[in-house]
Symmetry: C2
Subunit: 447 residues, 2 copies
């Protein structure tokens, strides 16, 4: 009898050895973790994090671990919940582009919580993170794109499998127990797209981490799941709207690494806006333009870009999917970081005026993912720039230094009072660390 | 603009007053709660409960409430999880027949946990329980039967809405907060039919209670959900496979009571076996038959009964859906309680011999829900009995005294060392109690 999908994933996770992973994939684990921590530090004092902490802190037991950027500590399940919210809150996290899963947010928190609680090593964390992201993205590949289109928030619904797999690895579960953990996760997989604009989104993202860890803890105690929990006739994939392509889950395990394809957003806004920003920043720099030089800007691109981005801007949420706002901040401030999408910036009269002299135009000759910016200057020049692959795509990945800069900006934005360079250094050196104590000490906010 | 389904449920729950409920519906709350507690006491020492406690006990904070039939105490979220598992574990709980939701298991635990923690009254518990069961069953009606057929374990997936609504009522949330609690629950709704034969089933049932309470606690702190979280284009109902019939959710709120239609299983086995047991017990009693008198038994019924019940019995799980086993224990022991479906009984040679002289036959003239038993005695008589409505159906509901007897049997089966009569009396008198302390003291297992 052929092993089921969760059984094969269980064998793969239980048997995987760090030394067998390609160095480039191992390095991606550090980049994913660093980007995740930066995102979480950027929102550690925000209301959604604080409100959820108010619920969970009084319920937490004495054996506690770190909440990123906070002085409070929580039990591992609670910390996993809060830290996953933090990693994802700004939609600034990593992206597995094929599935649009943000894989680090649900998986990293369980790796950090278990390693801190049990004194595991930096390699243990990075290894578990990679395996978890791999499991989440493979299951996501198997049900995409129909699963998301049906209304499932795939980061939540598939992230839980990654959290379960990562937890199973760190708990030292065997292949059968790991398969059960993944199967138990299938009975907890939840989260809808309808709720994405609301705080309810955070609940499904937090639960993906929390309940993935919970699944592994239950499997450790002897809890079981159906062998075909994923692909069975009354199982997860059919219930959630698709028959999975099982080959996407189990094909080339250990040789094809979906986790190695992770990408990182350079700008905290809709990913289709990214080539617009790149084109505007390039024009500004190449021609040493100041805002005062510019009479008008025209941005052109294919239908999806215009559908998403040609809109009136009234608040920060609009600004994250506005062609006009992205062009304005690029030319005015020479960047598009967290501050450029805050309400204060959105309502800045200079920004509003710049948005007003920006237009959007359909250009059917441009492929998806491309954009052209054309500037007319007061002194009569017409300057143009087309970007085919945005920074942060698989074609032009963020460099390590760019990820560091993003993390510094995020920590600053979040008012993180700690030494962010210590955090960054600790992540780069994590595979040499017998425990993650140095890292976890660095990400705490002093009480 | 018309209010959405969750908004209308929020208004209904927030505005509901105990004094406005029909007395017969109020009494059903006591019956549901008593039956639930009996089921939970019957399995309080079982491995699935003990294993889950091993995971949660070390993580629980200092503010703890009762776990039914145990000496351990847990934080309210953890206690809700464990107590829901207990109520449902044996499939012996209550049933809303139209949806096959077992409504008390996910809802009762949150009512008990919050009332114990916050010193609320017996009426508060009964009122919240009714409102929660009402919300769960109405949402279930709106997506049945397609939702279950698609693979969703409806007790888990809809039970969470009941737990959220009951919690909201006990927390004193207003209409808008209650609507948000229900909407937040939609992003946590999970649990598949594929996992029903496994311990993973317990996880989704326990989470329905735990996460429903969690949703309300988050809404209390300010967490929000999409207005159309239930019926929106990318919301819960469409994602879970159906477009809801919103009229089923909001029609006749406050006048039609789905919670008043709750039923209680007299026998811990498949509900289609119940008329078989009734027919055999009636023959035994009416003709004062002993097993030694009987040469053979033939059971006849329609296709569903045969599809489910005509099978080889090798373990206790088989026995719960076996026509032959149900006939055997009815004639041999004059009852079909928990002991009659234990492994020891299943492998008893006398029971196996009786099963072997029992046959099943299709009778297409019998309607669904009916069964005929025909006995041939050694002295040449042929005795026959047809049952059209089984005991425990809406047509022949269990009496209060029969529910009491079931609860006593369950407590005995579970080795409950406390005074079960005190428990029973406390439930019947709950609407006169300013706190539920008497009840909760009675359901604890002394350390």
């Amino acid at each position: 009898m052929t092993a089921t999908a969760s059984e094969q994933l269980g064998r793969f996770v239980a048997a995987s050895r760090w030394d067998d992973l390609p160095p480039i994939v191992r390095h991606e684990a550090k980049r994913s973790l660093l980007n995740f921590i930066g995102c979480a530090l950027g929102v550690a004092q925000s209301p959604p994090v604080t409100m959820a902490l108010r619920v969970l802190a009084p319920l937490a037991g004495p054996d506690r671990v770190t909440v990123l950027g906070r002085s409070e500590r929580l039990d591992p399940l609670g910390a996993a919940f809060i830290n996953a919210i933090g990693g994802n809150l700004l939609d600034y996290d990593d992206t597995h582009l094929r599935t649009v899963i943000h894989p680090a947010a649900p998986v990293s928190p369980v790796a950090l919580a278990l390693a801190e609680q049990r004194g595991l090593s930096g390699i243990d964390v990075l290894h578990a993170l990679l395996l978890g992201m791999e499991v989440a993205c493979r299951i996501g590949n198997a049900v995409s794109p129909h699963h998301y289109a049906r209304g499932w928030h795939i980061t939540s619904t598939c992230g839980i499998f990654g959290a379960a797999a990562a937890s199973a690895k760190l708990l030292g579960l065997n292949a059968a127990q790991t398969a059960h953990a993944i199967g138990i996760a299938s009975s907890q997989s939840a989260g809808t797209v309808e709720n994405l604009p609301q705080a309810a989104k955070n609940v499904s993202v937090g639960n993906a981490a929390r309940n993935g860890l919970f699944a592994a803890l239950l499997a450790e105690q002897g809890y079981t799941a159906a062998p075909a929990a994923l692909e069975g006739p009354l199982g997860w994939a059919r219930a959630m709207g698709d028959t999975p392509d099982v080959a996407e889950i189990i094909g080339d395990l250990g040789t094809r690494w979906e986790a190695g394809k992770n990408t990182y957003k350079p700008y905290p806004c809709g990913i289709v806006m990214h080539p617009v920003i790149d084109a505007c920043l390039a024009l500004r720099q190449e021609h040493r333009l100041s805002a005062a030089d510019i009479a008008s800007v025209e941005v052109s691109g294919e239908q999806l870009l215009l559908d998403r981005g040609d809109r009136i801007v009234t608040n920060d949420r609009d600004s994250r999917v506005s062609i006009h706002h992205c062009a304005a901040v690029s030319f005015l401030f020479g960047g598009a970081g967290l501050r450029e999408f805050e309400d204060a910036t959105v309502h800045d009269p200079a920004v509003a005026a710049f948005r007003a002299c920006t237009t959007a135009r359909l250009d059917t000759t441009l492929p998806r993912g491309a954009a052209t910016a054309t500037v007319r200057t007061h002194d009569g020049r017409t300057l143009t720039k087309t970007v085919h692959h945005a920074k942060g795509s698989n074609e032009i990945p963020l460099t390590d230094v760019e990820i560091e800069a993003k993390v510094r900006d995020s920590a600053l934005h979040g008012g993180f009072p700690g030494a962010i360079d210590t955090v960054i250094a600790a992540v780069w050196e994590l595979d040499a660390m017998p425990s993650i104590e140095t890292l976890m000490r660095a990400v705490v906010r002093p009480a």
